[in-house]
Amino acid sequence: MSIFDELQQAIIDGKAPVAKEVTERALGEGVRPAELFPNAIVPAMNEVGRRMRDCEFFIPEVLIAARAARAATDILRPLLVGDEEVRSAGTVVCGTVKGDLHDIGKNIVAMMLESAGFQIVDLGVDVPPEKVVAAVREHGANVVAMSALLTTTMVNMKAVIDALAAAGLRDQVKVMVGGAPVTESWAQSIGADGYGKDASAAVETARSLVAAA
């Protein structure tokens, strides 16, 4: 088994200590940090996303896999700074909208984006629009990713978009939305740029939004 396969397997199995050990070993053997993303971490999280969609994985499996991926990325991130050949896939400000405390889905989306090479600024739950605006400014984000699980809080996604517009930032940043009650047509109706049904879709959407920008 190649070292890439080893890392991939450790992530899929949710074994954080193994993922950490393999990552360190790979670096010790001279593997470039940036190589581990396309060859191990991204495919691993894609597989996790697929298993979730096909009901082979449920929330516990997904969360431990995400944790294992983070064990690897925590080591790699600092090493990527200054690597001229890698450009971050983009910076994503994410959070669950105001009034809403559901964050499991948002956390999974954030982790998938992170393992796909995005920088994540996670604002947590119950996030007021002003906080999103401030974070977009501070971090020069390319994408805002908002999650909502309640029909009563979905409307607050529109408030985020309005606040970005009022702050003059709407043209600089793409907005994508998701969460169980959110649909493609709702996303369009509030003027969002993208929608994702699940975490794998979130990655595809984020990639295409950044590419289109």
Partner: protein, 337 residues
């Protein structure tokens, strides 16, 4: 037959005069009497007034003390966020058991101790008085997985299943004892039916459900039965992967959320299981018309067969048009099992 008799007939396997009608209302009921939801959740008099109003106005067969999952956690000293007109919510960032070692020091709160649990018990007593035996009074407790999630933080709990099965067993055992004590107090106060809400159980998948959750749900159901009450189990969300397990719990009523088709539940649980549900509260009930609601209820009934109770998949959302809810009830009243 009055509502109470109708529900009891269904539960005893006798034919009621028409289908029992038991949709969950909380914020909808609170809005109906113009109360703030904070008051509904924390003052049993407000809850009882709203429940009586909704049950009499819409001709439900039951009244319930359900308000939010935070009663037990609050009495244990967990940090809860209160909002003026929203359900109180557990503050997960500061979860009571963020540090697992605190479990061993937890003590079961006294359900008569003057806290949120006591408020609910008083609600059951007042509803018993006010309903004059015409409606069945439903108490409410949290299931093992849901309450454990409230105490530990749901994100952490999900990983504990892999990291620390022993902790899970200890936590579920504590929760079981606490919830049974809470159920007993509500039964003593007049609840004849106990609702068990185990929302988080829909997230864990069939393996973990079977290994960790099911055994404790089973004990909970059996212990509530031993108190002399019937059990309604409600698991929010998609339960398709665990339907057969749910069917083996021996619940008097399985209250299905909308993502699980009634026909699948019927196939998994056999003809004897009373099934309640399961219109999509948003798409079918709130966004529909009286005609489409009536048709959706008919479809649920067709899939369920005779052992069927009319209701939505989950809580009736607060801005549901009253005419739609009335149409749901009318379906029940116009049909026999």
């Amino acid at each position: 037959m009055n509502g109470r008799e109708r529900v009891i007939a269904m539960l005893q396997g006798q034919p009621p005069d028409h289908l029992p009608v038991m949709p969950i209302t909380m914020m909808f009921a609170s809005d109906l009497i113009g109360a703030r939801y904070l008051d509904y959740a924390t003052d049993f008099r407000v809850l009882a007034e709203a429940q009586m109003r909704v049950a009499e106005g819409f001709q439900f067969d039951y009244v319930s003390v359900i308000s939010d999952p935070g009663c037990e956690a609050a009495d244990l000293g967990a940090s809860i966020k209160f909002f003026p007109d929203q359900p109180p919510a557990i503050d997960e960032e500061n979860a009571l058991l963020a540090d697992k070692s605190k479990l061993s020091a937890l003590e079961i709160p006294d359900p008569a101790g003057g806290g949120r649990m006591a408020n609910r018990v008083k609600g059951a007593r007042l509803l018993k008085e006010q309903s004059h035996g015409e409606k069945i009074v439903e108490g409410w407790i949290e299931g093992p997985c849901a309450e454990a999630a409230d105490l530990r933080g749901i994100n952490a709990l999900m990983m504990d299943f892999f990291d620390d099965p022993e902790f899970i067993a200890g936590l579920f055992t504590f929760v079981l004892e606490m919830e049974v004590a809470f159920a007993k107090a509500q039964v003593d106060a007049g609840a004849e039916l106990i609702g068990i809400g185990d929302a988080a159980a829909s997230l864990v998948g069939p393996k973990i459900y079977q290994e960790f959750v099911w055994p404790f749900e089973k004990k909970m159901v059996d212990r509530v039965h031993a108190l002399g009450a019937s059990v309604r189990l409600h698991i929010c969300g998609n339960t398709r992967q665990i339907l057969d397990g749910i069917g083996r719990l021996g619940c008097d009523i399985v209250d299905l959320d909308w993502p699980a088709p009634v026909a699948e539940a019927r196939a998994a649980m056999g003809p004897g299981q009373a099934l309640l549900g399961n219109l999509d509260p948003v798409r079918d009930l709130r966004n529909g018309t009286p005609e489409s609601v009536y048709a959706a209820a008919a479809e649920c009934h067709r899939q369920a067969g005779p052992r069927f109770i009319v209701g939505a998949g989950c809580e009736v959302v607060r801005d549901t048009p009253p005419a739609n809810l009335a149409a749901l009830v009318r379906y029940g009243m116009e049909h026999q099992a």
